[in-house]
Amino acid sequence: MALRRRAPPPDREGTSLERPPEGARGATTWSFALCPPARPVARRRGGKYDALLPATASFCSRAPAGVCPAVMEEEEEGAAEEQQRFSYRQRLKAAVHYTVGCLCEEVASDKEMPFSKQTIAAISELTFRQCETFAKDLEMFARHAKRSTINTEDVKLLARRSNSLLKYITEKNEELTQFNTEQKAKKKKKLEDDNTKSVAAAADKDGS
């Protein structure tokens, strides 16, 4: 997994981050949600994270849609759609980032150990990428079972790698099914009660 880094723009919040030297690991700004897609990220020479994957999902390295007026209609439409899809992904990532931030805040206050912004950003990027893997796996599992709806068995299969994780997910699943059956029983009981009440009310009316 290639964690992309770039130097913070100079007018960022007045922290004591100086511009990191070339090739060194400096501060990353998590700016995907705030900055529009800019020029491609300059690859640092000797950067640690470059080589692994061939630029998959490099959300910060896409150039903006074509500006030249001589571009053909279809290309423009394609580019606009691309842009729309891209900004949709951006919004999703922003939502993930917010949720991850909340969870990390809870952990930080629980353990009394603060998180740096870059760490939270890295965890949200991590979660987003891992979601892609999860989604593809779940789809494959469902397709393998000749289904088009993903169900809890697929999720349990997804959690198989760690025993404690599998146990936890299985317990959660059982809690959920138990909760569902309780809800159904409650609804049924309520329906029966309503029925008997209405029958009793009708009988009273007839009687009186």
């Binding site: 353990k111 740096s116 760490t119 987003f128 989604a135 397709r143 709806t149």
Partner: protein, 79 residues
């Protein structure tokens, strides 16, 4: 690690998964969605807690990306 007040909302999880589906007909069941939300919450919390433990082991006062990087391999192997 139970009682995490925050957590992934079901609509967010649903959108996240649907973005990466290759087949348009694939859907996610309600229970499965809830389990996935739990799984993602656990993922984030595990990443956070393991990084904190790493920082504590290194006697640091702040959890930085370095600590996350060190716990990353085992985390990904466990998920």
């Amino acid at each position: 690690m139970e009682g995490a007040g925050g957590g992934f909302r079901k609509d967010l999880v649903s959108k996240l998964l649907r973005v990466h589906f290759t087949d348009g007909k694939t859907k996610v069941g309600g229970d499965a969605l809830q389990l996935m939300a739990e799984l993602l919450t656990i993922f984030v919390v595990e990443a956070a807690v393991r990084s904190v433990r790493q920082a504590q082991a290194e006697d640091l006062a702040l959890v930085d990306v370095d600590q996350l990087e060190k716990v990353l391999p085992q985390l990904l192997l466990d998920f």
